[in-house]
């Protein structure tokens, strides 16, 4: 429909629109109003036009449309028209129309209306008005329909049953036809006039609608024909006449209709309703299409204006019918184009043009009407009973006062119109409706009775909204389908917005009531501040520097005071320095000693006095020391290596002087060159019978005691581990034995007094000592690679291994009993040799066990030793029990004699000869290979027992002997092999012990000294005269010759 509307304003809807109404009426009127139909029949053309106009007026918007078309056409024909003038004229004309309307029949009309209204009131007030309004129209329509029905063929009536179906189709066709007609109308008109209408019609039909059915075309032609008839009258009066007739008709019809009114009311109301619905739909369309909006708004004003003009008309009812007729035509013209000025122009035009105009209008109107019809149709189908009811109430919405007024006016108009024609009546109805609509929109809720009407408009609004939303939805749907192709939608993860775990009861309770009856008792703070040890103590720093290579004396130093480092210590070769110092100290000490001796003449005269005849000079060892006073020297021993070192063994003092030393034996190590004091002072619990120094270095002192124990002193020991005693004004260190076999090794130890202690040291045994000694330095190794043999009277010879511990233990040792804490030297029993077995000869069995008195080891072969016995025999033995020859060294005298061989001495010059001194005063010189002695001197000492016998250390052919009468004899074999060359009696201070110290002359410094221990306890050193001290040339060879000769 819309498309058709837009295509052209001239679409002819007339036939269709007409037909619809007509045919509906036809059906009704054929039953009821048949007589009227006949009457109306002759007025057909007139009614036709009128009818055509009616819908145009009813639909304000439709009438809106018309002016455009009108204007178009008129502009074609006439040129220009100004709307302003049109309106002016329109207003002028209205009074005339009003006059016409208030025609004689107007009153009748009113009466009729009132009557009807009264009748309807009991039923429905709403319907009353409605009916009042509408009655004229249906009547008119009916009349029209009747005439139409008659005018049109009977076929239609035949088709009556199927009318509804065909209706639409036909209308469509007709409209098309009409459309074509209307466009070519002016031409047609003239063509018709000139004749051959039918032909022309057909021609045009053929041109435009070939498909068109014959029937409809016939109808169309008839319509046209009737129109043209009226037009053919025309020439000014035509139209008027028609109007007049119509007026009359209307009045008549009205009167005639009265009886059937009641019956028709329903139908008429329904028609009204449908009309209104169509309007609604029209409105809807308008709402939907923005294109129509302006017209719709104009429509309302136009309708109102028309109503007012009617009111005015009402006042003046005296105009002639003709005028009214004319007015009517103008009225509807104005209605068709309310705001425009065409009407005035039309008025001025001659009738021809006017007729043409009307002719043209109709199609226009019909076009719109058809639109309306279409809508109506749609709505008819759509609307339900509920919709049907609403329109009835619509009239209610008008304000009562105004409604009444308008009603009066309209009734008057209707009456007039009825007379003039139905047209005006219908116009007024439409107007009323439009007004109602507008008012409903403005104040919808002013009265309760309007609410339903409101509903209608709400319905309208919602419908439009629905449509809008539908289009919107469609649009969105299209949009979404397009978009969804481009977008991927997916489910997101489940976001956890809030997760509040439930609080358990206890916590809840505590939270609410937990703080009751509580108070803060204490505060704990810094709880986690645990005290830990840190390593951030102050680091003691000291600046120290050093220089490398060390040049000059200062090679290192530092800022610290009192540190040995900082004093630029000169680079010292410490061992060498110590060696030097040791030597130098000794030298200095000796020098000082000599100076002192020189300074103290009291001493020296004594010394000088003491010098013997055999000696050049003599010195006395200072035995006047507090701890040596009143002690007798029992034994003297000289080191074979360090020839100036002498040890003196002092017995217990006669009178108690120091409780710390009382009852103890004291050993003093002397350097003969330092006679002022002993080097070391040793203490011993038991009486020492014999002693000896270590063979290579005199730092070990071995001693045998009467208790059978062997003691060892380590002279290198630090003095601090020993006993300090302050005697006089100086401190003395009394060293106790480093190791003592006392109480140890009872199974092997000596049970009797130790007669002799001898070191065993030869190169042969070095290997063994290597194994035994862990020491690294050659010096120490060599110093310790020896054994010690101890001999007791019963003939038991024990061999001890001297072992040096790698580390001293100040705390003492659990395993090494007998070792002083801090000591490093100990003795390990190595072997026990029973000399008594070898000595017990079958020949000497009656003698019992021989006593062994002394033992000496061969310097050249430490495996061999000789043991002096108390039988005058000297046993020769080996440590490995080898067979040796001779087994015994016998004196020259045969037979057993109780002669004790006390002293024996090997020649220190490597000659395999030894001396043996016997208690019978005989001295034997034995060769190792011969059983009998080389030489034997029996009367050298006059039969006195020899207590001491020593080879000279400087002269191989000189030896010294001591007898028990404290006499010293000097033998010089080169000088005399018969007896001693010199004899020196030592008196009054008896000689107790004697030993010899001396050093072989290297350059010229050789000396030979006798160390004499006197009975008084004094020890003096007698330096022998050079005669006996200084060796003669090739003395050893001469001795050998002597000895060979002795053989």
């Amino acid at each position: 429909m819309t498309s058709e509307n837009t295509s052209g304003p001239h679409t002819s809807g007339n036939p269709k629109g007409d037909k619809k109404h007509r045919e509906k009426k036809l059906r009704k009127e054929s039953e009821v109003d048949f007589p009227e139909d006949k009457e109306q029949k002759h007025r057909d053309p007139d009614r036709d036009t009128k009818h055509r106009e009616r819908p145009a007026e009813r639909d304000g918007h439709a009438s809106r449309e018309n002016p455009r078309g009108d204007r178009d056409r008129e502009s074609q024909g006439k040129g220009k028209r100004t709307p302003e003038t049109g309106t002016d004229k329109g207003t002028k004309r209205i009074p005339r129309a009003g006059r016409e309307k208030s025609h004689s029949r107007g009153k009748d009309r009113d009466k009729d209306r009132e009557r009807r209204a009264r009748r309807e009131e009991p039923r429905q007030t709403a319907q009353h008005n409605l009916l009042g309004w509408q009655l004229p129209e249906p009547a008119e329509r009916r009349a029209r329909a009747g005439s139409k029905a008659r005018a049109e063929e009977k076929e239609r009536r035949d088709e009556g049953s199927e009318w509804g179906d065909e209706e639409r189709e036909r209308r469509y066709r007709e409209r098309k036809l009409q459309y074509g007609d209307s466009q070519g109308n002016p031409v047609q008109y003239w063509l018709y006039k000139e004749g051959g209408e039918r032909r022309h019609k057909r021609q045009k039909e053929a041109d435009r609608e070939r498909r068109h059915r014959e029937k409809s075309s016939v109808r169309e032609k008839r319509d046209k024909h009737s129109r043209e008839k009226s037009n053919s009258f025309s020439d000014k009066e035509g139209e008027d006449r028609h109007r007049e007739k119509r007026h009359r008709e209307g009045a008549r019809l009205d009167e005639e209709r009265h009886p059937g009114d009641t019956g028709r009311k329903e139908r008429s109301s329904r028609e009204e309703l449908t009309k209104r619905e169509s309007k609604d739909s029209e409105h809807r369309n308008r709402g939907a299409s923005s294109r129509r909006d302006p017209t719709s708004s104009q429509e309302g004003s136009c309708a109102l204006w028309y109503a007012e003009s009617l009111v005015r008309n009402n006042g003046k009812d005296k105009d002639s019918r003709k005028k009214s007729c004319r007015e009517g035509s103008t009225v509807w013209k104005q209605a068709l184009s309310p705001g425009s000025a065409e009407i005035a122009e039309i008025e001025k035009e001659d009738t021809d043009i006017e007729n043409a105009g009307t002719d043209e209008y109709t199609p226009c109107l019909e076009d719109d009407f058809e639109d309306y019809e279409d809508d109506f149709e749609v709505c008819d189908g759509d609307d339900d009973v509920s919709n049907e009811l609403e329109p009835k109430e619509k009239i209610e919405e008008l304000p009562l006062a105004r409604k009444k007024e308008i009603q009066e006016i309209q009734e008057a108009i209707n009456a007039e119109n009825e007379r003039i024609g139905e047209l005006s009546c219908k116009l007024s109805q439409k107007r009323g409706l439009t007004e109602g609509e507008r008012e409903a929109e403005t104040d919808a809720n002013s009265s309760p009775s309007r609410a339903p009407v409101c509903g209608i408009f709400m319905d309208f609004a919602t419908a439009s909204r629905r449509q809008k939303s539908r289009t919107q939805a469609l649009k969105q749907k299209a949009r979404s389908t397009k978009l969804l192709r481009l977008i991927d939608l997916d489910f997101s993860l489940t976001f956890s917005l809030l997760d509040l775990p439930p609080v358990n009861e206890y916590d809840m309770y505590i939270r609410n009531f937990g703080r009751k009856n509580t108070k803060q008792a204490y505060v704990q703070y810094n709880e986690d501040n645990v005290d830990r040890d840190t390593q951030t103590e102050e680091v003691e720093t000291k600046g120290v520097w050093s220089q490398h290579p060390a040049e000059g004396t200062a090679v290192s130093g530092g800022s610290g005071s009192g540190d040995p480092c900082d004093t630029g210590a000169p680079k010292v070769n410490t061992p060498r320095l110590s060696r030097f110092l040791r030597a130098a100290c000794q030298v200095i000490a000796v020098l000082l000693e000599e100076d002192r001796m020189a300074a103290e003449p009291s001493w020296s005269p004594a010394a000088q006095d003491s010098a013997l005849r055999i000696s050049d000079s003599a010195s006395q060892l200072n035995t006047s020391l507090p701890f040596l006073q009143n002690r007798k020297v029992s034994c003297l021993c000289a080191s074979q290596v360090q020839r100036q070192t002498v040890v003196s063994v002092h017995g217990p003092p006669g009178a108690a002087s120091d409780p710390a030393l009382d009852g103890r034996h004291v050993l003093c190590v002397w350097d003969i060159w330092q006679p002022s004091g002993p080097q070391k002072v040793l203490l011993c619990e038991s009486e020492v019978t014999c002693c000896c120094f270590s063979p290579f270095k005199a730092f070990l002192l071995f001693a045998g005691t009467v208790h059978g124990s062997v003691l060892v002193w380590d002279l290198r020991e630090d003095s601090r581990i020993h006993h300090y005693v302050k005697l006089g004004d100086c401190f003395w260190t009394f060293r106790t034995a480093t190791f003592s076999t006392d109480g140890l090794l009872t199974s092997v130890n000596h049970r009797g007094p130790v007669q002799a202690v001898e070191p065993i040291s030869t190169s042969v045994y070095k290997k063994q000592s290597f194994v035994l000694s862990p020491f690294s330095t050659q010096e120490e190794m060599s110093g310790l690679s020896f054994h010690v043999a101890s001999l007791e009277e019963s003939g038991v010879l024990n061999v001890w291994v001297v072992v040096e511990l790698p580390k001293a233990d100040l705390a003492g040792s659990l395993s090494d009993l007998g070792l002083i804490p801090g000591g490093r030297i100990k003795l390990v029993h190595s072997a026990t040799i029973q000399l008594s077995d070898s000595l017990s000869h079958r020949r000497y069995e009656f003698w019992g066990a021989a006593q062994t008195l002394s033992v000496k080891f061969l310097p050249s072969d430490p495996g061999h030793f000789i043991v002096g016995t108390d039988t005058g025999l000297i046993s020769h033995g080996t440590r490995q029990d080898l067979r040796v020859s001779p087994k015994l060294y016998k004196p020259q005298q045969c037979g057993m004699r109780p002669v004790r061989v006390h002293v024996m001495d090997f020649s220190p010059f490597g000659e395999p000869i030894f001396l043996a001194g016997c208690s019978d005063g005989s001295i034997r010189l034995h060769q190792l290979t011969s059983e009998r002695p080389l030489l034997q001197w029996d009367g050298g000492t006059d039969g006195r027992a020899i207590t001491g016998l020593r080879w000279s250390l400087t002269r191989p052919a000189v030896f010294l002997a001591q007898d028990d009468t404290s006499c010293i004899y000097i033998w010089d074999l080169l000088e005399s092999d018969l007896g001693p060359v010199a004899k020196q009696l030592i008196s009054p201070d008896k000689l107790v012990a004697m030993t010899i110290v001396g050093e072989a002359e290297k350059a010229s410094g050789g000396f030979l000294a006798l160390v004499l221990a006197r009975a008084s306890g004094s020890v003096d050193v007698q330096f022998l005269k050079r005669v006996w001290a200084a060796p003669a040339g090739d003395e050893l060879g001469r001795l050998r010759l002597l000895l060979r000769g002795a053989l």
Binding site: Q472, K482, I487, F491, F495, P502
Partner: protein, 144 residues
């Protein structure tokens, strides 16, 4: 426990968009498949906004059943308005506010969305004090 929920949808935005869409849609489709980077829904910014609102509005709030409905509505409107001001162009915002009383019960709230993960996002923030908890979730949906 009682809780009230209020959600506000800025419909006005949608309609405005529709109008433009209507005009533009006739000629050519003007879909924007991805937001301008600066106008993207940035959860961090939104969170700050929500957080500020929560702190401001609920600083000393106590739960009272009568006031909570209004409070939730007000909060949602406030947040929504603020988000609109932030210029997330072509975004539809849904702001959901839930306020509940703290009585020790457990609460679990979750959300799941059917959306375009590239453009749409959401953020939420929780405020709690002794008497109430408040969850504000803001969802941003891009309108292509």
């Amino acid at each position: 426990m009682t809780s009230t929920t209020a959600a506000s949808l800025p419909i006005g935005t949608a309609e405005g968009l529709l109008e433009t869409e209507k005009n533009a849609g006739e000629s050519e489709n003007t879909y924007i498949l991805r937001p301008v980077f600066q106008q993207r829904f940035r959860p961090s910014v939104v969170k700050d906004c929500i957080h500020a609102v929560l702190k401001e509005e609920l600083a000393n709030a106590e739960y009272s059943p009568e006031e909570m409905p209004q409070l939730t509505k007000r909060l949602s409107e406030t947040v929504k308005d603020k988000l609109k001001e932030m210029g997330f162009d072509r975004y539809k915002m849904v702001v959901q506010v839930v306020i509940g009383e703290q009585r020790g019960e457990g609460v679990f709230m979750a959300a799941r969305c059917f959306w375009d993960a590239d453009t749409d996002n959401y953020i939420h923030d929780v405020f709690m004090n002794d008497s109430l908890f408040c969850v504000i979730a803001a969802f941003g949906c891009f309108y292509y």
